[in-house]
Amino acid sequence: MDLIWDGIREAARLWWSGDGEIIEITLRTLAISAAATALALAIGIPLGAVLALRRFLGRGLIVAAVNTGMGMPPVVVGLLVALILWRTGPLGDLNLIYTPTAMVVAQFLLSLPLVVGFSLASIQSVNPRLIGQMWAMGANRWQVLWLLIRETRLGLLAAVMAGFGAAISEVGASMQVGGNLAGETRVLTTATVLETGRGNFEVAIALSLVLVVLAFIVNLVLTAVQQRRFVT
């Protein structure tokens, strides 16, 4: 029990003292996960919309793949990205392995199915006649997408939360493609694993608490936006 209290005290001390490394790791964690989520949203929402609104050959296969991807183990994604970005791999010349970019790619691949799946479900729940009315009002393709996003914002914010949650909380893939290099690719999850391995439980607990608080704050903001119901 003392161990846990010591951890909490250590977390408070690290924060209050403005520990440079912790702040750097926290900011890097946020930057990488935010970039991965933003990419997943930019591609995932239109993809979810297409899957929700269009019928084409192979659609069922893609939806099944998306559903499978929603529960994809991060280490599998990490392995896949590592194999592709490895120095002798197909994209090895880009020298991306063990860089934050590689971590963004891995987290993006983990977030994408969640964003697509949630977007597909919420856009599919829109009354098709309402979509007809959007076209009838003279909306072009992008305006219809904008109106659909607006109309399904509650569901889509759930997609943002799920996507961001998957990105920020995963550790396996980040280890595999980032390498947990101090000052370069170390993020809160990988640092926590490292410190736990070293037996530095206070620091591990401190890092975990930062991670949880960070995730909570982001979700608090998103929830506040989601629940602001009568926006004009």
């Binding site: 009354n127 009315q133 076209w135 009838a136 009002m137 003279g138 072009n140």
Partner: protein, 358 residues
Amino acid sequence: MTDRVEAHIEIRDLVVQRGGVSVLEIESLDIPRGLVTVMIGPNGSGKSTLLGALQLVLHPARGTLTLDGEAMDADPVKTRRRMSAAFQEPLLLSMSVQANVELPLRLRGVDRRRRRELAEHWLERFGIAALARRHARQLSGGEAQRVSLARAFASQPEVLLLDEPFSGVDAPTREGLIGDFAEIVSEARPTTVLVTHDRDEALRLGDHAALLIGGGLRQSGPPSEVFDRPVDRAVAEFVGTENIWEGRRSESGVYQAGGVRLASTAKAVALGAPALLCVRPERIVLTREDDGSANQIRATVRAVRPRGPVIRSELASARLRLIADTPLTGWDELSLSVGDEVITRISPADVHVIEDTD
């Protein structure tokens, strides 16, 4: 009527298919500019399909649709921005009433000040200015439909496409809404296509009517003509001509049907030729006194049913079955019961004759 008024929309050789089966086939139909064309017909007749084709959401297997002589599908977004639509469901978006009405203008890139001006004007015209800041989810059915119509007018469309916009609201609200709509449409005069199955609505709002049955255009013309002068049995049945009697022309202007002699001023069929004699139920007058005029038939009351502002009675004379709608006041004066004898009077001008080709 279409001969005298310029066509705004021209429909030619239109075929719309669903699952490889034709659900709509129209050889030629003109939608006159600045008038209200009511599209009537039973369920599944293709009215809404036609509206869907005009909105460019259904893609015809064949045929052309032109607006001012230009193919409507050449640039669908541009064409849709010259039109507006309102449906049975109000289909408002999750935003305020004002934002809903401004939305079509926003999609067209109209600046904020002009958007607000137009939205306020149309909300005012539809009597819902007080609801401007209310969220769409907080409206009653009638209010929501007013917002939907205000939104349709806000973009000042050349063409207004309406699919039974009044049928989802309760009767008293509906009456007021139709009254306001009639006034607004007669001022703004967009080319309007109104799908309806309601005869009163068609007669009250329509300048022109097109009747579809089984995916084909059966009759078009002024609404009163379509309702009073159906071209065949199917049209007659749909427009509520309850009395359709099979008969033959016996002499000039005189027909025999079910053992009864009937005079008609309608265009005659050949002597001895089979004919369908059509009389609308509200055109049959019930009376106690024989005034010596033509078409007075003595009949027995078989059944009586109240139908809103009228009483519908079923009567029998020889082998003829008659259905009459009598206004409540007139009915009370007659004080008729089942089994009573009464004289039915039909003006020869109200006996419409169709050549019976079956």
